[in-house]
Symmetry: C4
Subunit: 194 residues, 4 copies
């Protein structure tokens, strides 16, 4: 079985998530600039989630470039990832539509953590399916970002119980790490010995 249809299906789901999320922005009441005041925090939360979904689409795209056949287990591993991604609009609106709080910041981080774990599991499923000399294993390399992200999410969740804004700040940092072009960062991390 080829990867074409799984790719198309995943693209469809992520395209819907990324779009509908922004459509859920609360409508401003009134026609003054200050009517947007309620929209700003939600908008910021949505920008962060938009970038996260963009990163997942991007990484998913790259992962499937190194994948040439799909087993039943991989199909379900992919649906598992899509499930956690599909909860992102839910945790995003909870985060954005209320005062920043421990619970909503932690819930958002738990969602990110679950998606990262699901992505890692999917990657392992594909590598195991490819067996000896897996192309994906080569492409992934030491996967420093992939291994660091869950640790940073867990730290962010912990920080949310101290100061929610620090937890969210750490989620922003993880997003920036993924946005920075790949090779340079890996070299930097390698040099700093991490």
């Amino acid at each position: 079985m080829s990867t074409g249809r799984m790719e198309a299906f995943s693209d469809g789901v992520i395209a819907i998530l990324i779009t509908v999320m922004v459509l859920e922005l609360p409508k401003p009441h009134g026609v003054t600039w200050s009517a947007l005041d309620d929209s700003y925090p939600v908008l910021l939360a949505y920008v962060l989630s938009f970038i996260y979904l963009g990163i997942y689409w991007n990484n998913h795209h790259h992962m499937l470039q190194a994948t040439h056949r799909v087993s039943g287990g991989i199909l379900w591993g992919n649906l598992h990832l899509l499930f956690w991604l599909s909860l992102v609009p839910f945790t995003t609106s909870w985060l954005g539509e209320n005062e920043l709080s421990t619970v909503t910041a932690a819930a958002y981080g738990i969602n990110l953590l679950a998606a990262a774990v699901a992505f890692f599991v999917l990657q392992r499923l594909i590598i195991r399916d490819q067996g000896e000399g897996s192309v994906l294993r080569l492409a992934v390399g030491r996967d420093l970002k992939g291994k660091a992200s869950p640790i940073l999410y867990v730290t962010g969740i912990g920080l949310s119980f101290v100061t929610p804004v620090l937890g969210v700040a750490l989620y922003v940092v993880v997003a920036l790490i993924w946005l920075v072009p790949d090779r340079r960062l890996e070299r930097t991390l390698a040099v700093t010995g991490s």
Copy 2:
């Protein structure tokens, strides 16, 4: 006429259903963990429906792998299946957003039953269209799961009138039967003489 566009259209519809369904989760009021209390039962119902839609996408995918041309009848058989699947978010939210009751559990089962019948009809349409030596007939084999599912749904609908939770439990069982890798189960069923 080739199967490409029918496949793409079905993928689109199922991707939208599976995504929008999760977007419909009721937003929690307040920023405590207990604010999620109202979301849990709905979330559970959505997880079940997410898995069902995943199973349908998966099976649809496999069925079309053994299909090479599409007639007008097959196009409409496919739309008929998509119609019943498109009602799943409706029966899911009815099931999840109320106390578990006979009517909502039975309605959910009737929806699953109608989708299963529609899938079976579509399969027959393709096999009839392929005529002698149908590839799909070979691929389907004795189709134990396909034949057992409607019986289990009917039983589940019946149980809903006694104890709704048993009806829903049976729907969960059917989902698990489909999730278990194919060959092993068929052998098991063959050995136990069913």
Copy 3:
């Protein structure tokens, strides 16, 4: 420019319309069968529109099979068709969520009429673009259904001002005309001299 991306875009829009429409069904209040009473008329209206969108997807599919290149005019003719189709959920819910009335039955018919005209215009644009020996002109033939439909819609709109239920009944008849396999109907119409 090839037809591939226009086809994919149209499929996407129609898939979203056909799905979201059913998602808009009003949620039943309570857990008795009679809680569905408010949903039935809407559900019936949605079934009709689901079939209409299915017919358009089907016909669009066939039309593009006989089309091999796309000009700027054709792209806009296609968007024009999609615009009228995208209003179908709007007129459908207006029709279904109120008592059957002259205005809602006529508005629904006007929407169907505009979509039929847009489809006809798109067909002409493609035929003109193909020039002498147009494949689509041959495929379309005398286009009895295409020519009869607008007349029937206008009649339906007129009937809505007398008895709304007759207007809607005529829209159902047009849908059935399109559902009936093509060749047989055309022969019948040819024999009866229409």
Copy 4:
């Protein structure tokens, strides 16, 4: 990396935006023609945004025809464009669901301006990636429309502070400029020396 999946993803997002936007039309209360009175201004705003999204889809389509490989920067440039497009339904409903005002007309124009800038940035990213003898640079030519649009949007935003209706009128003019077939306009502009 080929452009196929980026194209499909963008098509998906634009198809969802263009469709869901029309689905957001406020439902009429009552079954008289005057019940539509509240819908007209929103409908007009939606028609304008539908045309704008159609223009972007069209131009995006053409741009990618002259693009043969995709870098990480181009993927993010594309997501950046999609982000601004995804805000269009938000500014559209703010524009249409209230009395025409300075703030809503300016906000709509700012959204259009940001999308135009994002499109321009994406175009530059692709041209830079193609290096010497860029196909896209040739296809774009002097890009009179692309360069005139932002100036007209800024003018429109300015006019909104004087007479909102003039600002919106200018946005309509820009849409018409893009709708008019390409070559003739460019020649006209060349002759008039702009």
